[in-house]
């Protein structure tokens, strides 16, 4: 049984803009062969045709993290999303019957 009430408790807090509905971006900086390189990464997630804000960032080591799954760093963003769907099943309701995977 699970009943979610509508109250979102987040607005009480000062969390900064990174917790708005838009996904954060990550910047990785490094030097290579005399060049200064910046790689910016921003994820876009769609599940069953519905866009979900994905608050995941990728670190200097190439591993992805999200504070929705705070005790693990992922070598694969695919594995992170799999765990996100499993860990927050109520955020990803069953797909309507008859809808194909195409």
């Amino acid at each position: 049984m699970q009943q979610e009430e509508s109250q979102n408790l987040l607005p009480e807090m000062d969390h900064g803009d990174q917790h708005g509905m838009s996904a954060p971006s990550s910047s990785r900086h490094f030097q290579h062969s005399g060049h200064s390189v910046i790689i910016r990464t921003k994820y876009s997630l769609e599940v069953d045709g519905v866009e979900h804000p994905l608050h995941a960032t990728i670190g200097e080591d190439g591993r992805a993290v999200t504070h929705a799954l705070p005790y693990k760093a992922y070598a694969s963003i695919v594995d992170l999303v799999r765990d996100l769907i499993d860990g927050y099943a109520s955020d990803f309701p069953d797909r309507p019957k008859g809808k194909s995977n195409a």
Partner: protein
């Protein structure tokens, strides 16, 4: 003195009574309880990135130097409130020594004494045994442990009404940490090191938190993921095992301090502003609705709880090769 939860049933019994008393005590926002307020505080800290947008997920309580002082403060606050609500000023949190259970055979670990029905209860979605069970068929609904605070994948915090979830040894982690990770952490003489996040190498804090260390160690993080369910998410204090787990983490820090100096902490206040919330003189994260006075990180270095035993940690220390 904080004692082992298994060797001191009275301390564990008082703890269970205490968290239940806080669960029945309304918070200033009476939609949830005082216990739930502690859950909300932890989830809020988890979502306070320091600085905003950093890619390593460093926040006001995790993945950075403040991890240990913030949790020491957090434990001290709930310890004081349990003591008050029980009318037992001498009450101290017990610790769950998961190093002991981690030395058991893998298949025996989920049946260790801490999970007995008269202690923390068992596993399930929801948990149906022990003091924190949830059973819709129970004749007395007041005995149901109801989870009220929940993080969502969209990084919001909402009210809910459901039982506690555990999937002990059933997630991606099948065994508790052995001594290898803690032994490696204890061998580090630096409390923390640049870049002050989950990538920091040869850092006591980072290895104890579980981001670095020997293969398969994981320490603190591994325990959360081994219990899984609510313990693997940002609202992990919904499971009362959280405080017993972190009490053991704090015990390991206290032992490390006894070897390396109580005031061994980094970074100091000369560190740049992007390390705000993690520098020695910075304030520990509190919620806006917390009427307690601000506390600085450096106070947690001297307010070291007293533990009944470091014997197991001394044995690990003795097995560290001399450089």
């Amino acid at each position: 003195m904080r004692r082992d939860a298994i060797s001191d049933p009275q301390a564990l019994g008082d703890y269970i009574d205490g968290v239940w008393a806080l669960k029945r005590l309304p918070a200033s926002d009476d939609r949830y309880s005082r216990y739930d307020w502690f859950v909300l505080w932890h989830a809020s800290a988890m979502m306070a990135s320091t600085p905003p947008g950093n890619s390593a997920n460093r926040n006001a309580a995790h993945s950075g130097p403040v991890f240990l002082p913030w949790h020491r403060y957090y434990l001290s606050r709930i310890e004081a409130e349990i003591a008050a609500v029980l009318g037992k000023p001498q009450f101290r949190l017990p610790y769950w020594n998961w190093l002991t259970d981690g030395a058991m055979r893998q298949q025996d670990q989920p049946n260790a004494p801490i999970w007995d029905d008269d202690k923390m209860g068992g596993t399930g979605y929801p948990v149906r045994t022990g003091p924190f069970r949830f059973d819709l068929n129970t004749p007395d609904a007041s005995t149901n442990w109801v989870v009220r605070i929940e993080m969502r994948s969209r990084t919001s915090i909402v009210l809910t009404r459901r039982g506690l979830n555990r999937n002990i040894a059933g997630g991606d982690i099948r065994r508790l940490p052995g001594g290898t990770g803690v032994k490696s952490a204890l061998s580090r003489t630096a409390y923390d090191r640049p870049g002050w996040d989950r990538n920091s190498a040869r850092s006591f804090r980072n290895e104890l938190e579980g981001w670095r260390g020997p293969p398969g160690s994981g320490t603190h993080n591994r325990v959360h993921r081994w219990i899984s369910g609510d313990m693997s998410l940002g609202h992990s204090p919904n499971d009362p095992i959280f405080f017993l787990h972190h009490c053991n983490v704090d015990r390991i820090w206290a032992f490390w301090q006894s070897r390396n100096g109580a005031n061994t902490y980094a970074p100091d206040q000369n560190a740049p502003d992007d390390l705000a919330s993690h520098r020695l003189g910075d304030r520990l994260f509190q919620r806006n609705d917390d009427d307690a006075p601000p506390v600085l990180i450096d106070r947690m270095l001297s307010d070291i709880p007293v533990y009944d035993s470091f014997t197991d940690l001394m044995a690990l220390e003795d097995s560290i090769p001399v450089a």
